[in-house]
Symmetry: C2
Subunit: 337 residues, 2 copies
């Protein structure tokens, strides 16, 4: 329950998300909110805006402009996603990829045939001068998504991963090609100084009653978003009568990352002795106000509260769609929100 | 039998070809010559060079560089071609195309999923600075072709079709999008003045014992090749003791084009009252020396001879692979060659 008693059906929510982990909760909110409105699919354009990380993008893979996190969010929200992987399109074929192999192409990055259409269309529209925000909206509309899906900015920002074993790597080289096995000593968000907040992100965030930080990797997925100049201030400012909650859902449960290399990065980048929800809370302390903690980690509740957070203890592991919608409901029903 | 008694297994042949029609005879020669050499597949690199028209290319369809005639030749020679259409890859899926339609893309040009790999790889290699000739060789090697497949030049030459109904159209707009239904009043080969003969075409033609003009559209498929500055002279010149034959296989049989709009163009562009093999002969008179005429058109033999051609009367309709190889054999066995 948001503090000043806005009905759920009037709430405006902005969710920050990376790829697979974050997309689970984004999908939970999307479906839960759908059920609050008449009509299927209900139009959530004014109610829910999901801001995706674009630091993982590749500008020119086989000439294609690829946005893995935005694609994962889009395929999840549209119901196209492959449930086994969390990314890619369910049942997608790889005829193009097989043929590319005959031509000597090193297929280290998966490209499904339907998936290729997304990259081709995006690349074409960019070459025509359209902004990534506009293109993302077109693609999302094409697959029937009724909420806003927004890239964190329209300018290219590229996450460079500094590693012990292989020097500085573009994100997908680190993450996909080398399977996130290198020891990470630092990150650079190349180009972020030139990035600006888009009109669409500014409007959505300005009007939001609630900011949600999905259970995504803080360093690799959320930090690039927060690094866009002015973004932290925009998120932390509100014209609502009471302070607008910024709710973090921990991506670390029982000391493990829900997905990906977050746990390892908490040790090497976060200076934590071991990965924990408390470590996540330390990362967001002073910025976020509310923390959603898994019951498994109940023993950390007091320490997280001591950092200034209001804490919701609930089940956060999302396997089924019901789990995802249930977590959305639990957050929106939270009395302290 | 070539005039100075070179054995077939020592012959060097250059074939000029467009798309589907020309590819049939190119395939006939390819397979017939394969059978003259030990080893499967025999290496025909020094023996057979097929020079394809690139006037039909599209530089930027969905960001892709597409060479329809080279692709048709490549898919034919490699055995990948769809026998029902003559172009495209047999059994290719269209998952990307279906997804592109959801994104609002107007799918007027077919792109199969495996086919897409060809375009993606070619476009990537061009952006890396490779020449189209090099790239075509790489792609052909990738699908196991052992003869040379050469674009007519490395520079972009674009066939523009002047029509009564729709003004000046890029070739594929005329041919695919508008189904070649417009009345053609003229052609322009944009950029041809800047085109140059590639080292590979120069070497192959210089060394050839026989020049073959496949049954392709004279105006749309062969003329762009001949329009490359210096090409007519190069083809007509030989350092062999006797004059090198230039053999035309008529694309018009019984007054009909084997494929495509050649018959209509013979009337509007060629000034012929009706399409005929004789009209084709008039088009090539003074340049080519030998003419392969279908038995159906036997009554035109004397008139074609009167233009200065030696004429071979044989069956030229190619349905099966045996037909294609049979026509290649008939030409190579021709006493007057």
């Amino acid at each position: 329950m948001v503090a000043d008693e806005i009905k759920i059906s009037d709430l405006k929510i902005v969710a920050l998300a990376g790829g697979v982990g974050g997309a689970k909760l984004a999908l939970g909110f999307y479906h839960y909110l759908q059920n609050q409105y008449p009509g299927q699919p209900a139009n959530l354009f004014e109610r829910l805006a999901i801001v995706g990380n674009t630091g993982d993008d590749m500008d020119d893979y086989l000439g294609l402009y690829i946005c893995p996190d935005l694609d994962t969010l889009m395929y999840s929200l549209s119901g196209l996603a492959n449930p086994a992987t969390g990314w890619g399109i369910e049942g997608d074929s790889n005829q193009a990829l097989q043929m590319l192999a005959r031509y000597g192409h090193d297929n280290w990055f998966w490209l499904g045939d339907r998936d290729l259409a997304t990259h081709l269309r995006r690349t074409q529209r960019l070459s025509q001068g359209a902004r990534l925000t506009e293109i993302t909206a077109e693609l999302a509309a094409g697959v029937g998504i009724t909420c806003q899906l927004l890239p964190m900015c329209d300018q290219p920002v590229r996450t460079l991963v500094h590693t012990v074993e292989a020097g500085i790597l573009p994100f997908q080289e680190y993450f996909v090609r080398r399977r996130a096995t290198d020891t990470v000593t630092g990150l650079t968000f190349q180009g972020v100084e030139q990035a600006t907040i888009s009109p669409e992100v500014r409007q959505a965030v300005s009007e939001a009653d609630l900011i949600l930080i999905c259970p995504s990797n803080p360093y690799l997925s959320i930090e690039p978003i927060l690094a866009v100049p002015g973004m932290r201030q925009l998120l932390g400012t509100t014209n609502r009568p009471s302070k607008r909650p910024i709710v973090v859902v921990s991506p670390i449960v029982g000391g493990q990352a829900l997905k990906g290399p977050a746990a390892a990065l908490m040790r090497t980048l976060g200076g934590e002795v071991q990965a924990s929800a408390l470590g996540v809370a330390r990362y967001y302390a002073g910025f976020a106000s509310h923390f959603v903690l898994d019951r498994q980690d109940a023993e950390q509740e007091a320490a997280i509260e001591a950092l200034g957070f209001k804490v919701l203890l609930t089940d956060t592991i999302m396997k089924s769609l019901e789990d995802k919608m249930g977590l959305a409901k639990a957050i929106l029903d939270w009395e302290q929100l």
